[in-house]
Symmetry: C2
Subunit: 300 residues, 2 copies
């Protein structure tokens, strides 16, 4: 088996991006880090880290990094099963780090509550669109993902979590300026500025098409932040699809209005988890299901 | 001069990521988009768009894309100077799109107010760490950036905006669990879980070093979202440097405490703007200065 201290050195360099910070993380000298990494590279027979600013993994380094994470996670499962005390001390090797892909709106609405519910794990979150988060799992870069797709990823289990309700929202002034004269028509919707999260975000276009049968939306702002997205809608910069739990307060106090009342867009979310660590991940899966159930609606 | 309709087709394809959606954005047929792009490519004598999923720019395409954006921005300046009505109609070519690099914490605290203050512009925001946002400007990928560095970027003007105050914060329960026994010492801080935005984020380490003279922080969660960062601190997952305007409410009602009271970290922020469009950008610069002054503290 690979030497745990050497694997820890590799993980720390790749997480921290430099030998100096890795040494600080592990409370050892920089030369101890260099030496452990060199020994690991000699054993594997190939370079593991590209010594750039910041340091990056080679393909082999990335594979070993994931391996180290999986072993720590499995070990925590063993400790739990054997009734051993899980490590609470703060040395970086004590708690496994769990790399997950989460869509931004889940993180902004319910995912922190799930994290709060899981003991003895460090989270390393990758944020991506719900239509693309499963790609991280396919590439083997994360252990689990929250995705809008029910399509199973090879080697992974998939279970439904619920739907996140989105509402097309805008400020009252924006509504008056762009939609008062003619209502929400293909023409007015083609003129009114829209807010889009990023090039992957199809929610605005989907809503226009599914709710109104309109295929073209207007010129777009690009704003890759869930909270800023709500703030920008309140500020009157454009209309956009906001998650109900985030927009609810502003809708209740009148800072936001629904562009067309009674036309929500429900986006189902699924939890995909790598089968190789599904056992060790059980407490995480349970926490995710509990926290999501408090905010998401049942999938019809 | 390049044909505006052809440049608009290029911009739309690169923004929307596909010919189909570009056609929807510009309210023309997909074959019109193809034709305009092909004509532009023939004129330039090289390929501008890589026909992938999503479509990406070649080096020449990226250069022309930036050119189109600059011309629209300059034209808006001319319209203002000549007292012409700036375009309000919603065709995608009517409003210039302004690509800016903004640090996440500015976007979460004051930048939306600046955006609200600027008329007739579409924003395309790139979010990056305040220590790296200026790199986007150096690479010519944005027209302006909010950066933590006062170092002028070649061809750009730089002006100070103020400092964003960060406080080392954690939940009362977290404080009791990790710091009650021994206080905040090198040993306890080396054990206590910390929250880090991403590998570029040095704020936690800087604070430990500058405020306490401690060079090593504990094992880290990685959480690249300003609001989730505050939420995770409130949830007791770790301690982290939160902007005072975001953490203020939770500090006031007791959900958060300062790890060491009276030890803030003030991070200066600067507005860097490309000189080639500085004139056209004047209203944007003015709005950024006004909005930042309401939240940031004066730079000492």
């Amino acid at each position: 088996m690979f030497d745990p201290a050497q694997l820890a050195a590799l993980s720390a360099v790749l997480r921290a991006g430099s030998f100096e910070r890795a040494a600080q993380m592990l409370h050892v000298t920089q030369s101890a880090i260099s030496q452990r990494l060199r020994q690991l590279e000699e054993q594997v027979g190939t370079s593991l880290v590209i010594r750039s600013q910041p340091c990056r993994a080679t393909e082999a380094g990335e594979r070993l990094f994931r391996h180290a994470e999986e072993v720590r996670l499995l070990e925590q499962g063993v400790r739990r099963d054997l009734g051993l005390k899980t490590q609470t001390a703060g040395d970086a090797d004590g708690w496994p780090t769990l790399r997950l892909a989460v869509n931004a709106d889940s993180l902004a609405t319910w995912f922190v509550a799930a994290m709060q519910d899981i003991e003895g794990v460090l989270f390393d979150l990758v944020i991506d669109d719900q239509d693309h988060s499963a790609d991280w799992l396919k590439r083997g870069e994360v252990r689990a993902a929250i995705s809008g797709s029910a399509k199973p990823v090879q080697g992974c289990d998939c279970r439904p979590l619920g739907t996140l309700r989105y509402l097309a929202t805008a400020s009252p002034r924006f509504m008056a300026q762009w939609f008062e004269a003619d209502g929400v028509t293909a023409a007015s919707l083609g003129r009114a500025p829209v807010i889009t999260f990023n090039a992957k975000d199809r929610l605005q276009a989907r809503w226009a098409e599914e709710a109104l049968g309109i295929t073209a939306t207007g010129p777009s702002h690009w704003l890759p932040s869930s909270h800023a997205f709500v703030d920008a809608a309140i500020a009157g910069l454009g209309w956009g699809m906001n998650p109900e739990p985030l927009a609810g307060e502003a809708l209740a106090d009148g800072r936001l209005r629904e562009v067309v009342p009674g036309k929500p867009l429900d986006v189902p979310l699924y939890w995909h988890v790598s089968r190789s660590v599904a056992g060790a991940m059980k407490p995480v899966t349970d926490a995710v299901i509990r926290a999501s159930a408090r905010v998401l609606r049942p999938i019809p």
